[in-house]
């Protein structure tokens, strides 16, 4: 569902399907060796000292786009996938590459076995009330 993403980076239409098969962008990889499975709400931010990804010949345009999106503000994995209009699995691999290249880092959400701190939950309730 690219919708408003068209014209900017998509020169094909939805009907035709992607011109490049999604996992071609990851050179067929479905997992990234460096990375544990990234949660949908794990936050990706750029490394402060990271250089310009544009000049890196090992990176694909999608890598560069991820770094660009995260540079202004950290993004969740789900948002990156929606923004790039790529399957979650593909985005996970691409993020793994970028972590390996030390261009971005990932902040994991609260581990599943732990309940978020009660004070955080209270903040959530208060925040929702204040909306």
């Amino acid at each position: 569902m690219s919708g408003d993403g068209q014209g900017r980076s998509h020169w094909f239409d939805d009907e035709a399907g992607p011109v490049v098969r999604p996992y071609a962008m990851t050179r067929g990889r479905t997992t990234s060796p460096a990375q544990h499975r990234l949660d949908l709400i794990a936050v990706v931010g750029t490394e402060p000292g990271a250089g310009d990804p544009d000049g890196d010949p090992t990176l694909a345009p999608e890598h560069v786009e991820i770094v660009g999106l995260c540079r202004d503000a950290p993004q969740s994995v789900a948002e990156l996938a929606a923004e790039l209009d790529l399957p979650i699995g593909v985005v996970r691999v691409l993020i793994g590459d970028l972590v390996h290249a030390e261009l971005v880092h990932v902040t994991r959400p609260v581990p599943p076995a732990e309940l978020p701190d009660e004070s955080i939950l209270r903040d959530v309730i208060n925040g929702l009330r204040a909306l």
């Binding site: 569902m1 999604p22 996992y23 949660d39 949908l40 709400i41 794990a42 936050v43 931010g45 402060p48 999106l69 202004d72 503000a73 950290p74 993004q75 969740s76 789900a78 948002e79 996938a81 929606a82 923004e83 399957p87 979650i88 699995g89 593909v90 902040t107 959400p109 609260v110 581990p111 599943p112 076995a113 732990e114 309940l115 978020p116 701190d117 009660e118 955080i120 939950l121 209270r122 903040d123 959530v124 309730i125 925040g127 929702l128 009330r129 909306l131």
Partner: protein, 201 residues
């Protein structure tokens, strides 16, 4: 920009992220509820399936098609600069249940939306969250023209435990959707106090 642009030179704040799932049968108003409170129009993420869908999908005539797309709609609520809540609508089709495992991992809690005209559609979701001890509440989406039932009657019909809250709501209404979410977080807090230690490690 997504989390609000930070001043140049200052590293952007990396927020604590939490997620709540919105489950329920097809057409019960999951995406509507997400849209009612989300600060962004619900976004869609997709996952490509390959072999998994094969035994079920009838691919006769489209033998070249070996992938299926599972779509998940989600929304975001920035509560504070450093605290962001995501709402994920679960995929409607039953055969994508395995995607729920991924979605529910680390979820704060869940809303099961129910429509009194098709109450059976949410049985599966109720069952799922009960089995995995994920705190959830049932939000009864009061559709126009549907009969209203007291919350107790719905609790009985769904055979819910006593501590599972049942709320009547209107998924289109922001205030109503907010109440539902507050109910989930409140329930998660109570549930956490009763069922598991606050810190497991």
């Amino acid at each position: 920009m997504i989390f609000g642009r930070s001043e140049r030179g200052k590293p952007p704040v990396e927020p604590v992220t939490l997620k709540i799932l919105v489950a329920g049968g097809f057409g019960v108003g999951k995406t509507t509820l997400v849209g009612a409170v989300s600060e962004i129009r619900p976004l869609r993420t997709e996952e490509l399936l390959t072999e998994a869908g094969r035994p079920v999908d009838d691919t006769t005539g489209v033998e070249g098609k070996h992938t299926t797309t599972v779509a998940m709609d989600f929304g975001r609520i920035t509560l504070r600069e450093d605290l962001v809540l995501y709402l994920f609508g679960t995929p409607g089709q039953d055969r994508f249940w395995f995607m729920w495992d991924e979605l529910s991992e680390g979820a704060l809690g869940a809303v099961v939306l129910a429509d009194t005209r098709r109450l059976e559609d949410c049985f599966a979701a109720v069952d799922y969250f009960e089995r995995r001890a994920i705190p959830f509440l049932v939000g009864v989406n009061c559709f126009e023209g549907a009969d209203r039932y007291p919350a107790e009657a719905i609790r009985q019909a769904l055979d819910l435990d006593e501590d599972v809250p049942v709320l009547l709501c209107d998924a289109r209404d922001r205030e109503s959707a907010k109440e539902v979410l507050i109910g989930v977080v409140q329930h998660a807090m109570d549930y956490g106090a009763d069922h598991r230690p606050a810190v497991a490690t």
